[in-house]
């Protein structure tokens, strides 16, 4: 497969980058940056609510574990396109891979913030320093490798742009890289499917050693499989979310037919997931815990509702075609997968009596800041590089879009 063929009709959106919305995002990023500087100099205790019992907080539960799952759009669409050979989804690949690349890069950055002694990170690449018995090592290697792979996968978009650049340097890079990419991109795509499968199952496997610390509603030998299946669901949801929002924001054609059939895929994935979850709980005789009135059962049912509702909403063909229902279902699946990860890593995790954790305002701000970086970078890149396909449509109808457009 040639790089240029990956997404032939993609083109930059154009328009000014520094809009009101973009500047608002930058303001959040700025505030987040101050907290990060404070954290780097004064230590974790200065900004976070983490403690000896909860040595990880939302920076891990959201930024890394949920963040990489929400960045599974590239993985999910690649599975559909390349493994199941459904070529019609091609135009969704580039934006999905871009969100993935941004998401994974920020997850890697978030891990760095969470390291107590981050100044030792330079030792990480050296084989002799590795703890080869650690699942975390596998997660770290896969995430860093996959981040590189994602940027390579998206690089044709940059190269297409740089080929016409006025700068001789960028033109040179583009010309030199094109033959390399043409030769190797297929292998990177294969890696792009292997690596996330590995590390998402490892993220689940991380909690297998939690045995007695993880509540029995979540602790199961199936944790790795649950994480993989739920990240695929979240990946598809993000693609629907992102395609719907971009279409409105940038007056692009709405990939309606494609999103409708993608929503059909989501019903299957969700049904599998909920079925697995219930069969697992029943066969391990833990289903009774779901009916014990405590906060664990409450979160379990919130999570189940968030998984089941989109499956019900998207099941009838008529409803599935409604873009509002597609969008709402996609949001709910993103919430469901995120909640599942929060439940496994924080809510269901009990390190012992008298420990408690709730993210501090600073931690929330940093997480918000990282999301803002991702959105801002996405906006800037799609405006300058060929990511989205189809030409903008001139006359946009009024409605929600106009407001969003004004802000963008």
């Amino acid at each position: 497969m040639r790089a240029a063929e990956l997404n032939g009709d993609a083109r930059p959106v154009g328009g000014p980058i520094f809009t009101a919305g973009f500047n608002a995002l930058l303001a959040i990023v700025g505030a987040c940056g101050l907290v990060i500087v404070w954290r780097l100099f004064r230590g974790l205790g200065a900004v976070s609510a983490m403690n000896d019992g909860y040595p990880w907080g939302i920076w891990i539960a959201y930024d890394v574990v949920s963040g990489t799952a929400l960045a599974c759009g590239g993985y999910a669409v690649a599975l559909l396109c390349y493994v199941l050979n459904k070529g019609q989804y091609h135009s969704l690949v580039r934006p999905a891979v871009l969100t993935s690349a941004l998401g994974y890069s920020l997850a890697g950055f978030a891990v760095l913030l969470d390291l107590g002694r981050y100044w030792n990170i330079w030792k990480a690449p050296f084989l002799l320093n590795w703890n080869r018995n650690s699942i975390l090592l596998e997660v770290a290697l896969c995430i860093s490798a996959y981040t590189v792979v994602l940027w390579i996968e998206i690089s044709p978009a940059f190269i297409e742009r740089w080929r016409d650049s006025t700068s001789p340097l960028l033109r040179g890079i583009a010309e030199r890289l094109t033959p390399f990419l043409n030769r190797t991109l297929l292998w990177f795509m294969a890696l792009g499917i292997l690596l996330p499968t590995m590390h998402h199952s490892s993220l689940g496997a991380l909690m297998l050693i939690g045995v007695s610390k993880l509540h029995q509603l979540w602790f199961t030998p199936l944790l790795p499989l649950m994480f993989v299946v739920s990240c695929i669901a979240m990946g598809y949801a993000v693609v629907v979310f992102e395609a719907t929002v971009s279409a409105r924001l940038f007056k692009r054609p709405h990939e309606h037919k494609m999103l409708t059939s993608l929503s059909g895929v989501m019903v299957g994935v969700l049904t599998t997931l909920v079925g697995m979850r219930l069969v697992d709980l029943i066969s391990r005789q833990r289903i009774g815990l779901a009916f014990t009135p405590d906060r664990y059962a409450l979160f379990f049912w919130l999570e189940m509702a968030a998984f089941i509702t989109p499956a019900i909403l998207l099941a009838p063909k008529d409803w599935r075609r409604d873009p509002g229902i597609q969008f709402l279902s996609a949001l709910m699946m993103m919430v469901a997968g995120t909640l599942y990860r929060f439940d496994v890593f924080l809510v269901g995790f009990n390190p012992g009596p008298q420990f408690s954790y709730f993210p501090s305002a600073f931690e929330t701000l940093v997480t918000l800041g990282l999301i803002a970086v991702e959105v801002a970078a996405y906006l800037a890149i799609v405006k300058r590089f060929p990511i989205l396909s189809g030409a903008p449509v001139a006359a946009g109808p009024p409605g929600l879009v106009s407001g969003l457009r004004a802000a963008s």
């Binding site: 019992g53 007695s212 509002g324 597609q326 969008f327 929330t364 929600l400």
Partner: protein, 379 residues
Amino acid sequence: MLAPVSFDSPASQSRRDFVRLCTLAAAAVGLGPLAAERFLEAAARGAKPSVIWLQFQECTGCTESLLRTTHPAVDDLILDLISLDYHETLFAAAGHQAEAALKQAMKANAGKYVCVVEGAIPTKENGIYCMIGGRTAIEIINDVAGQAGAVIAIGSCASWGGVPSADPNPTGAVGAHEILKGKTVVNIPGCPANPYNFLGTVLQYATFGTLPALDAQNRPKFAYGQTVHEHCSRRAHFDAGRFAEKYGDEGHRNGYCLYKLGCKGPVTHASCSVQHFSEVVGAWPIGIGHPCVGCTEQKIAFRVPMHTTVEIERPAPPDTYPAVQPPESHISPLATGVAGAVLGALAGAGYVASRKLSTTDDLIPTPSAGAKDDRHVDQ
């Protein structure tokens, strides 16, 4: 034992003995020194609570274990601290004489006496499987407990059916509270019940006129608020992973943990591990080398086989302990406020956006989109 008590002369030897008895009783059941003074005052006024003790489907084990307490001894208890007006095992009277005593005690102390129920109540065939003086247990308990000031169910049988209710429960045996719907019945389960849990409850009612705090199954929290496992004398062996694997093996003889032999201690709420029976140190099942059978738990005793191991939620002690005053463990209103605002904004924006997408229908169709049905054409 004690000479008859006279309160005319505070300096008398017998009064001193009685003070000692009251202090012992109050300490044994954990009521504190104030209670001892109150016992004394109550006894001096001659206001000893009247107790009527009913026995239905039972083995008298609860009465037998109560007879073997010495602090206070049961004779002190029934003669000095309470007035035991009806008890079939301890009665000298029989037949019509006994029935008459019951009626008289009920009449004299109506609304004030303590009704103690020992044994389950059979309900099948209108309760004909347990009849005393021509009346069924159901009739008797409704009559006696209906006019009582407090009702205490002693033992597992009276608390929830116990042995008589084991499968297939041929007589339809149930606990007292299932007959006395709407009335507070304090359950003191156990097979037998630890007499101190009973004494503590009776003496608190006698002294203060109140009942102890109860858990969801109406068991006094002071006795049933923790599991046997929590204060088990063999707990150190459990934590260290030293288990008796078979009766009489090396581990069993060395006093190792009995969990693998089917001990139900980890899920059984009772005070046995701290309050042994009959004041003999080590006189309780685990103390003498037998696994706990969970006799205070309706879901365990006589239902889960004796040698089946129970599931333990947290088998190992935590590997991390919080500081004495953990500085990090507070949740600031600012943090919750920020988190709430973020989540609320996201939820609101998501909902509004999806509503607008459904209603305004202002999507731009893909030029190449297929069937007409799949298009969302601008109106």
